[in-house]
Structure formats: C-alpha cells, structure tokens
Amino acid sequence: MDTFNKKSTLLWLLTVLVVFLVAIIFGLTMRMEQANMVELGPLNFYVLMTSHGLLMAGVWFVAGMAGIQYILSRYFSVPRWGSIVAYVCTLLGVVVLLFSTFFAKLHAGWYFLYPLPFYAKGMQIGPLLFLIALTILGVGWLLWSLVLIASILKKYTVAQALAWHHLTGKSEPAVSPFILISFVSLIGVTSCILAAVVLLVLYYIEMLSSGSVSNDPLLMKNLTFFFGHTLVNEMLYLGLAVLYELFPKMAGKPAYKTSWYVALSWNATLLIVLFAYFHHLYMDFVQPVAFQYIGQIMSWFAPLPAAVVTIFSVLTTIYRSNMKWNLAALLYFFGVMFWAIGGVGAILDAVIANNFVLHNTQWVPAHFHTYNLLGNVFFSLAFASWFADEIGDNKIKPGLVKVIFSLLVIGGVGFVIAFYLGGALSVPRRVDMYNEVVSEGVSLAQIAVVFAFLYLVGMIIYTIDFTKRCAGQLFS
C-alpha cells in the first residue's frame, strides 16, 4: 500500500473526527441554550451557530473527498499535491474562520445570506476575515477537486468517465460505479465551488467599493443556495461512491457493475441536482414561478435514480447474504436507511404548498440532520472503520461495536425526532430562545439535549477506539 496515501487518509480522518467532536459540542451547547439550561446570550449563540454549520459542512465534505482520494489511488496514481494543498488550506481556513467568529464575533450563519454579513454586529474586521476564511477553503477544495477530475481524465475520456458507452450496451472500457459516481460528484462539487467563487468576488467588490456598488439580493440568494445546497448533496454522493466500491465486498458479493440503468441514473442525478436548489427560494415570490416549479419537479425526481438504483442494490445485496456484520457494514446499511428517511422529510418539504408552512421551521434541520448525522456521517464513519480494519493493528471489539452503534442510532434518532416534532408544531429554526407563541420549542430542546449527549458519547468512544487502533501508523 502507498504509504503517503495511507498516512494522508489517516491524517484527514483523525482531523475530521476531532473537528466533528468540537462541532457536535457547539451544536449541543446551542440546544442547551434553547432549552434554558445555559445562558450564552444571543450573540454567542449565533457565533456558535455560524461555526457549527460551517464546520459540519466542511468536515464531512473533506471526509468524503479523502475517501474518494484513497479509493481512486487504488485504481491509478493520483497526484499528492491536491490533498496536501487542500489539507493546509482546510487547517488555515478553519483557524481564520474560528477567529472571525469567536474573536471578531461574526455571526451571519453558515450560508451568510447577503447582505447579512455587512449588517451583523461584532467587530468591523469580522466580515473580511470570514470571507478570507471561505476563500482559503474554496481555493484548497477547488484545486483538490480539479486534481481528482484530472487524474480520472488521464485514464478515461469525459464520455467514458460518465459511462455513456454503457448506455449503448458497450462494456469496454469498463467503468466502475465508483469512478462514475466520483466523476459525477466531482463535477457537481466543482460547479458549486465556482458559484461560491462568484459569490465571494461579488462580496469583495462591494466591500472594497466602500458602498458605491451593491449587489442584487435575489442573485446573491440564488448563488448562495446553488453553492450551499449542491455542496451538501454532492458530499453525500462522495460517500455513496465509496459505498458502491466497498459494500458488496463486505457482504461477500461480486463488485457492483455499471449497467445501463446505473449509468443513466447517475447522469440524470448530475443534471437534476444542479436545479433542485430552487426549493430554497420558494418563499421569495419575486423569483420567476417557472423556477419554483422546476425546483419542486427536480427535487421530486432527484431521489428516483438514487432510490431505484442505490437503495434497491443495497437491500438486494444484504437479502439472504449470510452477512458477517461489522461496524462498517452496519453503518453503511443503516446509513442508507436514514438517508432514505431524511430524503422523505426533504421531499415533503420540497412540495411548495407544504413549504409555505414548513419553511424555516425545525422541519428543515430535522431532515438535513437525518441524512447528514445519520446518513452521510455514517457513510464516512463506515469508510473510516473499514480503513481502520485495513491498516490498524487490531480489530474493534464486538462489544464496542454494539455500544457505539446503539449510542449513535438512539442518540441520532431521538435528536432528529425532536426537530421533526418542532416542525409539526411550527417551531422556528435558528432562534436562540422561544417566545410564548412557540414555547413548545423549549421542551423539545430539552429532549434533544439528552439524545445529542448520547450521540456525542458514541462519537467520543468511536474516536478514541479509532485513534488507539490507527494513530501509531502516522509515525511508523
């Protein structure tokens, strides 16, 4: 095994796990504030909210990318510098980001909806530091994504990497689902980071013009959600690409092949996902109505290829498989289940008529925490568990598998159910306290705190075990 590949992946995973623990503690503290268990004050609450959102989006994106880099390197040589630049930029970007939030008190939320950064309280330098942090992260991640795309294109043409020849029944050159999904996801990642680049440039122009230039809020909102929504979707697909590669082998089944319908579904996904973000602007009635309808249509068609191909394949792989379950397989299998459940929550919210009474209520964090906390995170933890088994000195103890898995599932499910109930009861999201109109939010937050704590304990045990089994390899 390539030593660089092993050590760099290990370093990424250790970093991800540590940052994830920190970000969970931020989130838990926010729920404690909403539950009236601590007194942070609104400014500190929103500082935590901004840091929590960005760290979570960033950390699971790089976890997905690290998985892709590792598996790709088993197919062919991938340049090292993409991963190195991305790692340095990620560390530097996170330091500047936390400086902008905790020191300069920038609290504009993770998608910093224009023009809020200019109106937020806190130090004057805050918005600039925040934009610099995002620029550093964006540059590192864009380069990494381009390096991975280039390494795929060294072996395949664009048409081959998109498996178009499989659509016409040809099987050569064979393109594995892993290559296809990685390529599709990396194109999506590159597109949304480019949108973020445009967004940041427009911010910088306005900032440097000292008020003589102002941007169009509707355009900025479209750019923001094209970037934010697409990034979160694509990072899920990065995790799925690795699942396609590893999961059948865990079940002792032949590797998944790229059939015509697998090729068709992921090509369709590539296009559909780019238009689904419109659902974030349903309540902006000045947005052209055609875009709103496209948003709902695309949001409802988006899960079809995934459901029909991925979920069906995972279920048929496990059915009467005489499976020997380990932590990685459990996390993959049930991660797909929670991804499907979160998807149901998402498409119900993506009905415009429902969104009219669910938008910006707790239904939103309910569904995205379901497919992130219990879906995407499970995919990356599954990869990390498989990786630890590959390189670690010892296997995880069976008793520990039960403890970790139970804590993550019970903690995660209880935590998101409190959010779903909040959505059903019209409780708003992103508030530091609940007024008398929506006072049910307090009891729901108290319930959520208990379950979030269980999830945190599960993650602490997971991280300690992973570190004990693997960290020594960094220095070997």
Partner: protein, 183 residues
C-alpha cells in the same frame, strides 16, 4: 388537522415502512440464498415510484401559494417593511424612514374573510414575514431588500395573529415580532 401535522403523519408512515423493510432485510441476512436477478422487481419499483412522483406533482403544484386569490380584488392592501429587528405595517405605502417609524409597532386591523394583499419588503437584510394563529404557522413570505414580495391571504377567523420573523436576520432575530388584528 394542520398541514404540518398531516405532513408529520405521512412522514411517520413512510418512516415506519422504510424501517420495516430495512429490518426485514437485515433479519434475512443471517440466512443464505442464491443470487437472484432482481431487474424485473427493480423495474416495477421504478414505475411505481415514477408514477407516485407524477401523481404528487400533479396534485400539489396547483396548490402553490403564488396565485392564491389572484382573480379576486383585494379587500385591503397592507404594506410591510422589515428592518433589524422590527416590522412596520401600514395600510399605506412605506417609502421613507419617517413612514417606517410612524408605522413601526402600530397594530393594523384587517377584515375577516376578505382577500388581504401583503406587500412585503425589507430595508436592510432578508427577513421572514410569517402569520401565526395560536402558535400554528398559517402563511409566510420572505422580506427581501430591493424587492417586494406579494402574498395574498384570506383570514377565515377573527382574532389577533402573531407575526414572527422566520429568516435569520441577526442577533435579535428571535425577538422580532408583531401582531395584526382581524375583525
């Protein structure tokens, strides 16, 4: 039952179906069986899912709020301007800072069962304009700087409705609220 609770009910049913399917398959994994060609079942599953998507789109798209009461004359136009961290609501256009200050905090009364056209905008950042009746969200629209979002709504019950900001707008977002009276 509110729309929110209906959605929650549908979600719960789907949740239970998905969990049951995964658990049944999980339980089956202790056995071993021959590999089967499942493409036929996959095709059936696809067409059922495809049909369901078309059905939902066909039923739900026409219920979108963009053309609510568009063929009726509004009984009352109401102008709403949001600004960190208050709403200014008036039956007259709010164009200047003076207009804003005069109407900030004042309660407007509108007729029950008449179409009300809310013209909603913002003077600074994005806000959310939402109407709550006894803690239940009835309708909402965004308040965006530089644009006017028009929401038509008919109040079918008299009483006092709460207005909350539903788009995160800064440090006192949670306290940004107002009321409107319906008679």
């Amino acid at each position: 039952m509110t729309i929110q609770k209906e959605v929650f009910l549908v979600f719960t049913v789907m949740f239970l179906i998905i969990v049951s399917v995964f658990f049944l398959v999980f339980l089956s994994s202790v056995k071993s069986g021959e590999l089967q060609n499942v493409n036929h079942k996959r095709a059936i599953f696809f067409f059922i899912a495809f049909g369901t998507v078309l059905l939902v789109l066909g039923i739900s798209l026409p219920k979108s709020p963009y053309f609510l009461y568009s063929k009726e004359e509004p009984a009352q136009k109401v102008f709403v301007v949001a600004k960190q961290f208050s709403f200014s609501i008036s039956k007259y256009p709010i164009n200047t800072d003076d207009d804003f200050n005069m109407s900030a905090g004042a309660e407007v009364t509108v007729p029950v069962n008449g179409v009300i056209e809310f013209n909603v905008s913002s003077k600074d950042v994005n806000h959310g304009f939402s109407l709550y009746k006894e803690g239940v969200l009835q309708a909402q629209v965004q308040a965006m700087p530089g644009y006017v979002n028009r929401l038509r709504w008919k109040f079918t019950e008299s009483g006092t409705y709460d207005i909350l900001c539903l788009e995160y707008c800064g440090v006192a977002h949670a306290a940004m609220a107002a009321t409107i009276k319906v008679e």
